[in-house]
Amino acid sequence: MTRHTLIIALALAAAAACKRPPPKPQPGDPLPGLTAAQRAQFDSGRAVFESTFTAPTGLGPLFNASGCAECHESPVAGGVGDEVERHAAVFHPDRPGFVCDQLAAVGGPVFQDSVTAALHAALGIDREALPPGVTTVAARTTPDIFGFGLLDAVPDSVILSYADPDDKNGDGIMGRPNRFVDGRIGRFGRKAFVPTLREFNDGAFQVEVGITNPSVPEEGTVTGRPLPPGTDPAPDPELNAHSLQLADAFVRFLAPPPPLKQSREATHGRDVFMQVGCAGCHVPVLRTGDNAIAALSHQEVAAYTDLLLHDMGEGLADICFGLATPSEFRTEPLMGLRLSTHFLHDGRAATPEQAIDLHGGEATRSRDLFRSLPAADRAALLLFLKTL
């Protein structure tokens, strides 16, 4: 009898364990469904991502941070940060084919805020100066990068399916893709300039940390001037191909933070979100396409973005970038929004409500509808946003 009872109890416990859904990934966790080898890459890549570089190991001579995790830090590696950096470009609306000069010839578009001791000693500078004639400088905050591997796996065709540059459906929302300098469709960065996650990561090592690598084997210039001799003692590339690939794997395999369980009020807020037209740009779900990595293949990601450019109005305008005019920005993914402490591309909004209030351009109608909502509906929508 006792033995029977024990067997039954064990069987019930086993059944319960089988039925229990796998725990949802928390911020910083890997995507579910990775192979053992991919999981090992993720773990090793985290170590590269969390590395702190010094001048002898390649830091700088111009840099914004001494490692990836210095900025992407909260609540864990890959998260948001409080750093704000400078981007600059010059807009030439009267120059067809070259309306946006990203100042690539003179150290742009990212102008670093820190220098190594050697560069300071050689040039007496504390940060990279902006070239003459630059009138607009954009502030850029550090977003979280959770779920970006899934965004990378969304086919171009999906992005293009949301584009309506001539507003043929008459809803006031256009949306058009940005393009990289070689014509490919962009999706990463606040202006959707960079086509792939790998390129964004590889470029960021050099631009943000001053770490050359097989993809970007040369250091940048100091506002267009070559580095003074002796200021960059580490041999190039300062990061080898294997470490670069591991860092990319870590970023690529970071799971998106799963939305929190929604209360009844938050569920109502989601309905309001749809009713006032937020989802016209903040598309709730994107679907990935074929991918060699099963965990990224044919997955749904609650990204709340269309990865397209939209005119956000003159109030938010700063720099051009690729095809993006100063007032055009990529729809910011709202996944992981609850982890942010500042909002919009430059962090000027302290709350999601302020951010909504600052929307203009194509979002004017939705913003105005939000403003005119009963207080309870506004509160419900904001509560919904806190679950993302």
Binding site: G97, A104, G108, D156, V181, D182, N201
Partner: protein
Amino acid sequence: MRRIALLFVPLFTVPLAAAIAQQHTAAPPAPPAAAPAVPHDSVRGAIRSIDVRSRTVEVTAGVGYALRVVALQIPASVSITNRHGSQPDVIALGQLKLGDVVRAQFGGKAAPFVVYTIERLGRMTTGVDSTP
């Protein structure tokens, strides 16, 4: 005295001649001015400036936000292949426009680098592989 002086002459002249001979042997032969070098790099990006008179173009390229500008000199003997249309054809330098996406192979030690092949692939505004 005179004989002694004559004996010393080879002591100085022979090593000197040998050194000169060695210098001539060690120094690589100067390449003829028009000798082609082997292309050592390639670039794909958007044209940001064109100077038809000097036959030079500047191309913006890069990886992510790590952008660079590559100055290219296109010899008159190099054809510019237009692959943007339905059939590839050859176009003149003056037909290239700002914002055209090109792919080029080039060589040389300093900018402007010498182009060996160059193709026009499309325009940045409308893309290369897919269009909005």
